[in-house]
C-alpha cells in the first residue's frame, strides 16, 4: 500500500479528515506486536484474537503516516473504547479526523478522533488522541 502524502500541521483544521488506511491483521503482524509487548495472555493465541492495543497501534500508525509532526510533539492523552472482538486474519480500516486545533502561546493543541472498522464495516474501536505540538523552531 503506498504511503499517503503527509499533511503539514498548518494545513490542518478542525473537521479535516485523513484518507482511510487499511491494514491486514495477518499472523506476522499480530505476532510481532505480541512479541514487542510481551503479551502472554493465552486468550489471544488460543482463540486467534488480536489485542485491542495492536489495533490501536495501527490506528496511530495511520495518523503518523498522514501528519508531518514537528520534533518535540508530545502525545498527551488517549481515550479508547473497544467494541468488538478482532480476529487474526481480519482487515481493518482506520479513519481519523481532527476534532480540535488550538494555538495556546508557543504551543499548539490538537485532538484527533479515530474510528476503526473491520472488513464487515462493523465498528471495532473508537478513540480520541491528544497532542501538544511546539511552535515552529521550538522544541518542548
Amino acid at each position: 500500500m503506498p504511503e499517503p502524502t503527509k499533511v503539514e500541521y498548518h494545513q490542518l483544521f478542525a473537521g479535516f479528515e485523513f484518507p482511510p488506511q487499511n491494514y491486514a491483521l495477518d499472523n506476522p503482524t499480530v505476532s510481532a506486536y505480541m512479541e514487542a509487548t510481551k503479551e502472554t495472555n493465552d486468550i489471544y493465541r488460543n482463540e486467534g484474537l488480536v489485542p485491542p492495543m495492536a489495533v490501536t497501534a495501527l490506528a496511530m500508525a495511520s495518523l503518523g503516516a498522514a501528519i508531518s509532526m514537528p520534533p518535540g510533539t508530545i502525545h498527551v492523552s488517549q481515550e479508547l473504547e473497544f467494541l468488538k472482538l478482532v480476529k487474526v486474519g481480519d482487515t481493518i480500516t482506520c479513519f481519523s479526523k481532527i476534532s480540535r486545533k488550538q494555538d495556546r502561546g508557543s504551543l499548539h493543541l490538537m485532538n484527533t478522533d479515530i474510528t476503526v472498522l473491520n472488513q464487515n464495516q462493523e465498528k471495532i474501536l473508537t478513540g480520541k488522541v491528544g497532542f501538544i505540538l511546539p511552535a515552529a523552531g521550538k522544541i518542548v
Partner: protein
C-alpha cells in the same frame, strides 16, 4: 489464563492483579517495528541525546499496552468487547525503567443489562513517578454474570 477476577464478586476498592515490566531498548525497537512508529526519539540514541529528553524514551502506546494487559488479565474477553480507557501521559518511560502497572476498582454500577466497572489505573516507574494515569472502564453484560 483468561480472567483472574470473579466478575460476580467484584468490590469497590479491590485491587487488580499488578504487573511489572522492565523497559529495554530492544523492546522499544521491537515495538517501533510492530507499530510502524520509527520516531527517532524512541530508537535513535544519538538523536535523542541532543533533545531536552536527553535519551530515548519508550512509546507511550507501549506502556499503555501494559494497562490493557492488566485489564485483560483481570476481566478476560469482557475487556476486549467492552473495555474503555481515558488516560494521560504524565512522564516518559526510559530504557532501564521498571514499570509497575496497578489498578483499583473505584465504582460499580448497573445500567441497561450491564454492569459497568470503573477502575483507577496507574503506571509508575521505580521512583514512584507517574508515567500514565487515568481510568479504565469495563462493561460486563448481565448475561455473562451468574
Amino acid at each position: 489464563m483468561g480472567a483472574e477476577l470473579d466478575t460476580n464478586a467484584l468490590k469497590i476498592g479491590q485491587c487488580l492483579p499488578e504487573i511489572r515490566k522492565q523497559i529495554t531498548q530492544e523492546e522499544i525497537n521491537l515495538y517501533a517495528k510492530a507499530s510502524r512508529d520509527f520516531n527517532p526519539i524512541h530508537i535513535d540514541e544519538e538523536f535523542a541525546k541532543k533533545t531536552p529528553l536527553g535519551g530515548t524514551i519508550a512509546h507511550g502506546m507501549l506502556v499503555l499496552a501494559y494497562i490493557s494487559q492488566m485489564m485483560v488479565n483481570s476481566f478476560g474477553k469482557e475487556w476486549l468487547t467492552g473495555g474503555g480507557l481515558n488516560v494521560r501521559f504524565k512522564a516518559p518511560a526510559r530504557p532501564g525503567d521498571l514499570i509497575s502497572i496497578q489498578g483499583k476498582i473505584r465504582a460499580i454500577r448497573e445500567e441497561a443489562e450491564q454492569t459497568i466497572v470503573s477502575c483507577d489505573v496507574l503506571c509508575s516507574n521505580q521512583k514512584n513517578d507517574a508515567v500514565i494515569n487515568g481510568e479504565a472502564i469495563v462493561r460486563i453484560k448481565s448475561e455473562n454474570l451468574n
